[in-house]
Structures are given as C-alpha cells and as structure tokens.
C-alpha cells in the first residue's frame, strides 16, 4: 500500500464530512488519522485535519497544519482563509490580516476572504474601513449561490454595519450640508436631496423602462417641473367644472366606463390578475388613440374645450388619449411601467378621498384636487385607493418636453410606421 490514490483520500474525506455531520467524532478522527498516515503531506488532508483541530479548540495545532497546507498549495485561496481563522483564535491580528491578504491577492473577489477581512477590521474598531469591506463582500456574493444560515447571518450583519455607517456618515454630513442649505434657503434642492439620500442608502434610483420605445439621452425625471407646461394652469382653474362633468358622466353613463386593463386572451396577465377586465379600475374615454369620442366629448363640453386647446401629444391613430380614470374603493394598481418615454402623462386629480397613495419611481406624492402634475410613466409606478370612495383623475398624454420639434415629428412617424407594419393595435396603449 505505498501508492495512495486521490480517490482513496477523497473517499476518506467524505467519511470525515459525513461523520462530522452526524456527530460521530470518533469515526471522523479515525478517518483523518488514516488519511494522514497514508498521505502526510497532502494539502487537502492537512486542511481537514487542521479545521478539525480548530473545531476541537486546539488552535496552535490547527495553525501549523493549516499553514503547512497553504504552503504546499499556495494558489488555493480557501487554505489561506483557514489559516486566518486559526490566527484569529490565537489573537494574532497581523498574521490573520496577512493570510487574508494572500487569499485576496489570489482572488480579489473571493467573498469569504472579504467577509473575514471586514470582521477583522470591525474587531479592531475600524468601523469605516469595515463598512467599505462589508460593501465589497456584499458586492461580490455570487447571485444565486446557496446561502446557508451562517452566510445569511453574515449578510444581515454586513447590511446592518453598512446602515450604521450610513447613519454615522449622515450625522457627520448633516451640519455641513445644513449650513449650505441655510445659505440657499428658498432654492430648488430636490435633485440634490435625492442625490444625498441615494448616497446614504435611503433611496433607490429608478430609471425609465419603457415597454415599447426608449428614447435616449433624455433626463430621467419622475415628476416634471410644471413650468414646462404653463397652460396646465387653465386645467387647474377649471377643475371644479371638469369634476362636475366627470361626476355627471359617472352617475348618468356608468355603462360607458370600461375596464382600463383588458388583456387579449393568451397574453400574460401577471400582476393584472385582479384588475383585468374589471371595473375596479375603469375609464371614460374622451379621446382614444388620437380620436375624439364625440358622444363623450359632447357630454363634457368644458373638458372637451380645454383638451381641444391644449398642446397634447399628437400622433395620428395613437395619441392623445384622454379619459376620466376611476379607481374603486380599496383598490390597488400594481407597480408597472409605461410604453415610451417620448410621452408624459398628465394627472388632474378631481376626486381624492383620504387614504390614497401615488408613487412614481422613488417619489410618493399625494394627489391634490385641482393640482395637475406631469410625470414619466416609464418609471415604475403604482397607485392605491384605500378609502371607501372612488378616486377620480383626468388623465391625458403630452409630449416629453425635452424632445425637439424635429424629434417629435420623427417619433410620430416611427410610431405610426411600426403600427402599420405590424397591422395591429397601437403600441401606445396596450391595455395597461
């Protein structure tokens, strides 16, 4: 029995694993002893023997075994991490750090080494450096790796450490930023505040994700500045009249309100299961895909006149669409994204019971009756009516204010062209 095969040793190591898992320590030790007798200088065997010694609390023996393993097979990062674990038990922080650096020099994204380095820094009271390293650890985790409970715990701890660091950083920044805020009282600082919140891990950054057409190079803004659309003042001023027309249609022509979501058979329904073909989210169309609904416009003359005079997004057979949108009590429109960022959406809130919520990207805003806003619906957005009354909003399409006239013209031609090519429904309104 002079020649030992790798598979023989592998077999013995498996015996050790199984025995340890079932708590059969004697069997594990026996197998280790046998393997060591067969192959005294095998790094894998030395590693298993070292980790067993470490588990038994004999860190000194563990260190010499693990160091020997790493010397014999210096290109395997885990062996260096295990050396670091033994050094940790022996409280030799310099040697622990050296071993971890060796592992990281071999594999800079090796997450166990990053984790142990972060822990070492944390033990040494270097909270900021530890936070940076925990961030590296979290960034280098494989995406779909098995996450045993110990790793999950480490992830949770790393996240807490990052949060604590973010809060400390926030406290550190606050007086300095506050001084600057005082200097610029009254100025528009929303973008900066969003930037700061993102930096401090308090805000996710969303971006346009249109389902049909993405126009590049545009600013990505959830709620647009009203100054781009000064003519909306007239809609605000007429809100009471528009509301009267909406309520009168709602009470006298309820049958003309149709489900907003109506997926063709066979199309994935996904998050729309509850609202598909349901009047819990219903609409009364004044204009649909560029065409006025004469009967409905005649019923709502004031709204019709305002829409007629407004510079809407006009694309023959596609836009604008304008409608009263009624969200039934206790109803939620799930998060979704719109069709194209070449168009923005106007909301003129008409009936807003308490308990409503609206979110676009990272921004939540309350609807206020008679106060129109313009938003980019290709950011993920959602709406909730948690009240006992319906919520009613006038909705219509306007152009993205950052497109030049030439760009609008061409976008209109492309949209119409794609539609004609596909001989299908308008890509601008896909039932949701």
């Amino acid at each position: 029995m002079n020649t030992v095969t790798e598979s023989q040793l592998q077999g013995l190591m498996e015996v050790v694993d199984r025995a340890m898992q079932t708590g059969n320590n004697a069997e594990a030790d026996q197998a280790i002893a046998k393997a060591r007798a067969l192959a005294p200088d095998h790094p894998g065997v030395l590693n298993v023997a070292g980790m067993r010694a470490l588990a038994l609390g004999d860190a000194k023996t563990a260190r010499s075994l693990l160091e020997r393993a790493a010397e014999l097979d210096p290109a395997t990062p885990i062996l260096w991490v295990n050396v670091a674990l033994a050094q940790r038990e022996l409280k030799d922080e310099t040697a622990e750090r050296d071993a971890l650096e060796k592992a990281l020099a071999l594999a800079p994204r090796y997450f166990p080494a990053l984790l142990h380095k972060a822990r070492l820094l944390e033990r040494q009271g270097k909270g900021k450096a530890a936070a940076t390293m925990y961030h590296a650890f979290l960034s280098c985790l494989p995406r779909d790796a098995d996450r045993p409970p110990a790793l999950q715990e480490a992830i949770a701890h790393a996240q807490r450490a990052l949060q604590e660091n973010d809060r400390a950083l926030e406290a550190f920044l606050e007086p300095r930023v506050q001084a600057a805020r005082t200097r610029h009282r009254g100025e528009s600082l929303e973008r900066f505040e969003a930037c700061l919140e993102a930096l401090l891990g308090k805000r996710s950054l969303y971006r346009p994700e249109p389902t049909f057409m993405l126009f590049p190079g545009l600013p990505a803004i959830e709620f647009l500045d009203r100054t781009h659309y000064p003519w909306l003042d007239e809609f605000d001023a007429a809100a009471d009249e528009i509301r009267r027309e909406a309520l009168s249609a709602f009470s006298e022509a309820a049958g003309d309100f149709v489900p907003y979501i109506s997926k063709p058979a066979g199309a994935p329904v996904d998050q729309w299961l509850e609202l598909n073909n349901s009047k819990r989210w219903s609409t009364y169309f004044l204009m649909k895909n560029g065409k006025g609904i004469d009967e409905h416009l005649a019923r709502c003359p004031r709204t019709a006149a305002l829409l007629k005079a407004a510079p809407l997004c006009e694309i023959a057979n596609h836009a604008p669409t304008a409608f009263f949108s009624v969200l039934a009590p206790r109803t939620r429109i799930p998060p979704h994204t719109g069709v194209t960022n070449t168009r923005f959406i106007v909301h003129l809130p008409l009936v807003v019971p308490p308990g409503c919520m609206y979110r676009v990207g990272a921004e939540k805003r309350p609807w206020r009756e008679g106060n129109a806003w313009v938003f980019d619906d290709t950011f993920e957005h959602e709406a909730i009516n948690d009240s006992d009354q319906p919520r009613i909003v006038l909705i219509f399409d306007v152009w993205n204010c950052f497109l030049t006239p030439a760009e609008r013209d061409l976008v209109a031609a492309v949209t119409a062209g794609v539609h004609d090519f596909n001989e299908g429904e308008s890509p601008f309104r896909q039932g949701g």
């Binding site: 020099a105 800079p108 280098c140 930037c195 930096l199 971006r207 990505a220 062209g417 090519f421």
Partner: protein
C-alpha cells in the same frame, strides 16, 4: 388521488428508464400504468407521444383529443395534440390547440415556438417574428440554451432579425420626407431610438461608482458647440503637444501610474494596469491643486488652461493631466466616479489602431480636436499600435447642474473625504464596486 399519484409515478419511472436507454423497462412501466388506468389522460398522452415518434400522428390525435377532454387544463396535452395536428397538416386546428396551451401557460417555450413556426408556415411572417421575439425574451441572459431547443431558437433569432430589417425598410420609407425636411437638423437621438427599437444597439446609462446625481441625461459625447471655450485650447494643441513631447523625452519615469489602488480590493479588472506606467499620467493639476513644477515646465499649456472652466471640488478636483497609453495596451471597460463631472479629451498624439468607445459610440481621436464625454457611462480605450498614445484630460462640470447644486455637491464630496479620511474616491475602494 392515490391512484393518480401511482400512475404519475409509473409514468415517471417509464420516462426515467427511457432516458437511460432501457427501452424494455420503460415499456414495462407504461404497460403497467395502462393496465391500471387505461383512460388516464397522462397515460393516453404517453402512448400518443410514442405514436408521434413512430410517425403515427393520426393515432396520436385520437388519443390526445380524448385526453384533453378529460384534462383540459393540462398544457402539455394541448401541445402534443398540436404536434399531432401538424403531422396531419391541419393548420387551423393546430393553431387552436396551441392557443389553448398558451392561454394556460402564456410563457410555455414549446408552445411559443410551435405557434411561431406555424405562423411562419401560414405566411404570417410578422406575427411569427413577434412570437419568436417573445420566446427569445424568456431566456435569461447568460443561460445556456437546452440543446433540444437550440436549433429552433437560432432559427427564431434569424426570423426576428429579418423582421427587424423589414420593419426598418418599411419605417425608413415612411421617414423619407421627414428626413429630407430635417436634413440640416441633428436627429441622432431619433436614430439611436430606432436602433434600440430594432435591436441593433443597446442603451448605455450612467453608472457612477460613487456619487449618483439623479435626473441627468445619459449622453455619451456632448455637442462640441456647447463648449465654445474649447476653441482656445484646441488652438494651442500644437504648443501643448510640443511641451508634452519635451516631458516624454525624460522617459517613463516622469509619469505616474494612472491606476493606483490598494491590493486586496475586488478590482481585478485593473490587475494589469495597477501601478503600471503602461497607463501613465503627468499631472498639470492634481485633485484641485495646480502642480506648480509641471505647469512651469509646460508654460504654454498652463496659459491655454486659463480658458478651462474647472470642476472645482477642493481636495478632489479638478485634475488636468497628460494621459499616456503605452503601445499595445488596453484600458478595460469601466465607469467613472461622479456624474456631476464630465471629461474633456484633447488628443495630442494618436497613432493608428487606437480605439475609444463610450457606451454605444465609438469615436476616433483626431489630434487637436477636443471632445466632451461622460465617463460614468461604460467606456474603454485601446492602443494597438507600436507607439504610445497621448491625450490631455480635463475635469469640467456637467452643464446640467445649477450653481447651487454644484455648491452642495462640493460640500458633500469634501465631507465624505473627511469622514473616510481619504482624499481619493477616484482611486479608492468606492470605484467600480
């Protein structure tokens, strides 16, 4: 229920045995299942499947029509029925069966592929392309396609590609008048919008590794017209180049490595260039401070830089540097640190076989012609020639920040540096993570 489980188990054993090549054993399990539940839909399905394999679609159809009657909510039965109907050339009935399967499972890959190929055979190329597109979008990026589907998916991709070209021709024909009308107007963004729609290109966006300022547009290269002060710097390009050549006459020792990051950080894309002078830098301004000695050595460059509106963030910016990329050297794709800053390139020495890409745009450096780009959009550079390439790089503010916003950004960046006790996010751990 108990029976059902038993039958399912027998069928699974049969399929396992068959997969391992034990045909007789598989037959035995199937016969057993048949004996116990001769009309069970899944038993019928398995027998029909074998008939299909043996070239008997008519027999398979009879069994499957019975099976779907008893188990109408089981999509695989409808798909096999559709396969049988295809064998019998009954296109309309086949489509009805496929639609049933898709109504039950809208993302069923086999059903989508079958529907697409049927649409193709019916001459509905555009509809087929749309269905193929849906099928292809179901495959997560990076996933290996199962070998059984590879051929169909490759064919689907060709079909989608051909359709995209057809859409392009169709739409371009419609755009002809508009393009003539706007011949003098830049409509590059529209062209890229179309490119994305037709799957010819992808959109790249800002990915700053450190400070992400929201609501800014992602623009690879800015319009040179918006930076008229560059005229003066371009006008001095020959003088600047002469001073650079003089600096380089000292050899590489006058340069510092562009990349200088500590070991042990997960930034291994920089392994080759870290602390290497193969990408060397000569500071004229360094992180907010003029480099007096270097500026004195390059007086004409110093004079030209008076026209430069600086990204002034004390302790961090601006920098103005000569960036020297050695022969046969490549800067890997990466994203910059702050999207509040843009970079100017003034190319000085440009051998042939150099490449610069920012996001979806490749541009050639032309000596003396400056450009402004956003380095937080993934970019890369390479010099495949036998001599070094040199450009001057300057930090400037993104034009989309107000003066007030700039003041806040300065304060935050400086405070972050104080908090971490480092003056360099650009070369520290924050980068690229």
């Amino acid at each position: 229920m108990e029976d059902d489980r038993r039958i399912l188990q027998l069928l699974e054993e049969a399929s396992n045995a068959s997969a391992l090549g034990y045909a007789q054993e598989a037959d035995r399990f199937l016969r057993q299942a048949q004996a116990e539940a001769p009309r069970h839909p899944l038993v019928l399905n398995e027998i029909a499947r074998r008939m299909l394999e043996a070239g008997n679609p008519a027999g398979a159809r009879l069994l499957l029509e019975q099976a779907v009657k008893d188990a109408p909510d089981h999509a695989p039965l409808w798909i096999n029925l559709a396969a049988a109907l295809r064998g019998l050339n009954l296109g309309e009935k086949e489509m009805a069966a496929v639609e049933k399967a898709l109504a039950l499972e809208p993302r069923n890959m086999r059903a989508l592929l079958q529907k697409a190929s049927l649409q193709e055979s019916l001459g509905q190329e555009r509809a087929a392309a749309a269905t193929y597109r849906t099928a292809l979008q179901l495959i997560p990026p990076g996933l290996d396609v199962p070998p059984g589907l590879r051929q169909a998916l490759e064919h689907g991709q060709r079909c989608v590609d051909a359709n995209n070209r057809a859409v392009e021709d169709f739409v371009e024909a419609r755009l002809k008048n508009l393009r003539r009308q706007y011949a003098g107007t830049p409509v590059r963004r529209v062209d890229r919008c179309l490119g994305v729609l037709l799957q010819k290109e992808r959109i790249y966006r800002q990915q700053p590794s450190f400070l992400n300022f929201p609501e800014l547009p992602s623009i690879e290269f800015y319009d040179r017209k918006d930076f008229p002060w560059l005229d003066a710097i371009e006008a001095a390009a020959d003088d600047i180049r002469a001073e650079l050549v003089n600096v380089l006459s000292d050899g590489q020792t006058s340069l510092e490595p562009y990349i200088d990051i500590p070991e042990g950080l997960p930034l291994d894309q920089w392994k080759d260039l870290n602390r290497s002078r193969r990408w060397g830098i000569y500071y004229l301004w360094r992180e907010g401070m003029p480099h007096a000695e270097h500026l004195a050595r390059c007086p004409k460059t110093a004079k030209a830089l008076e026209a430069w509106p600086r990204w002034d963030v004390p302790g961090f910016g601006p920098s103005a540097v000569f960036s020297i990329l050695d022969a046969k050297t490549r800067i890997p794709p990466h994203c910059g640190v702050y999207n509040t800053r843009l970079l100017v390139h003034l190319p000085l020495i440009v051998p042939p076989a150099c490449l610069f890409r920012v996001g979806g745009e490749r541009r050639e450096w032309v000596p003396g012609k400056a450009w402004v780009f956003d380095d937080t959009i993934e970019h890369e550079a390479s010099n495949d020639s036998d001599v070094p390439r040199a450009v001057m790089i300057l930090d400037i503010w993104s034009p989309f920040l107000s003066e007030v916003e700039r003041q806040f950004v300065r304060e935050v960046i400086a405070a972050m540096g104080d908090y971490y006790g480092t003056s360099s996010h650009a070369r520290g751990a924050q980068q690229v993570l």
